[in-house]
């Protein structure tokens, strides 16, 4: 039912978006380049200042550049500090239920406490 294969409806949406984006681009070029007096003579007076035709792309590019740095910074801020319990456990691990141990069966999947993991790794088995 939900497959990414091409469908006639999707082709129509795509063509409509294509025409719409070309129209938008032509409108932007007309607004940016055609002198104000020509537009006024046609009766089109209530358009934004041409200043924005340069300012908006500049804002967009600077925002994209800052976005890279911002994403990096947000990642670093959401990393748990070394003294927080989130480096050891979380809500799902605290609320997990212990399944009963069955003979001859593989033990159930669970979040092993860090003390047990340390003992297994670093204390040699005698």
């Amino acid at each position: 039912e939900n497959s990414p294969a091409p469908l006639p409806e999707r082709a129509i949406y795509g063509f409509a978006l294509f025409l719409g984006s070309w129209f938008g681009f032509m409108l932007y070029l007309i607004w940016a380049y055609v002198p104000e007096t020509w537009l006024f003579s046609l009766g089109l007076t209530y358009w934004p200042q041409k200043y924005w035709a340069v300012a908006l792309p500049a804002y967009l590019l600077v925002a994209i550049g800052i976005g890279y740095i911002l994403l990096f910074g947000i990642n670093m801020m959401s990393t748990a500090p070394l003294n927080s319990t989130h480096t050891i456990t979380d809500n799902y691990a605290k609320k997990q239920q212990q399944k009963k141990f069955q003979e001859e069966a593989i033990p159930a999947l669970r979040d092993i406490p860090i003390s047990e993991v340390n003992r297994m790794f670093f204390l040699p088995e005698k």
Binding site: L82, N83, N118
Partner: protein
């Protein structure tokens, strides 16, 4: 009681000394590398050359005296608040754990955690500034929940020993902490 050389996470040489005071008391001291003369002279000459360049540009001799003042004050602040000489961990089986940091100026800062609050001493690995680091930490018991951890106290944050040194310290601590468990079971 001899000192064994290890490396810190950044490659600097550190030394670990393990002293056994009694059957249930052990002291582990990690000594950080001393302040290097070459880094001190590099920073001092950089600051003084920059100040001299400013003096040549501005003809103001206050810049030179300000540079000397800043260098001296900066060095004193660094030695007293930042540069750690050694970090030690004293584990007393029935009493608690004491963590001491000695600064290069002689200042010592101590923290004591009593044994009732200590759940375990483990080696944890966590992400720190685009790196995954191993560090030793004390897990404090949550008073309401016997399985829970209320707080994590990281140790050796300035000397940052590598995993081989941490395993030695971990084994020493676990020997003392196990005595606590056998004492609990027998009583």
């Amino acid at each position: 009681m001899e000192e064994r050389p290890y490396r810190s996470a950044s490659g600097a040489p550190i030394a670990l000394r393990c002293r056994q005071h009694s059957a249930s008391c052990r002291e582990l001291v990690v000594r950080c590398p001393r302040l290097q003369l070459r880094s001190l002279s590099a920073v001092t000459s950089a600051v003084w050359l920059a100040a001299y360049a400013l003096f040549v540009l501005s003809e103001n001799s206050m810049v030179l005296s300000a540079a000397i003042f800043i260098t001296l004050i900066g060095l004193i602040i660094y030695l007293h608040f930042v540069k750690i000489d050694q970090e030690s961990l004293l584990v007393i089986g029935s009493l608690g754990i004491q963590v001491t940091s000695s600064y290069a100026s002689g200042k010592e800062s101590t923290t004591f955690i009593e044994m009732g609050q200590v759940k375990d001493v483990v080696i944890n690995e966590a992400i720190h500034m685009q790196k995954v680091v191993y560090y030793l930490c004390i897990l404090l018991q949550d008073p309401g929940d016997p399985q829970g951890v209320s707080e994590v106290v990281p140790l050796f944050q300035s000397s940052k020993p590598r995993l081989d040194c941490l395993i030695e310290v971990y084994k020493s601590c676990q020997e003392i902490l196990e005595q606590r468990k056998t004492a609990l079971q027998s009583s």
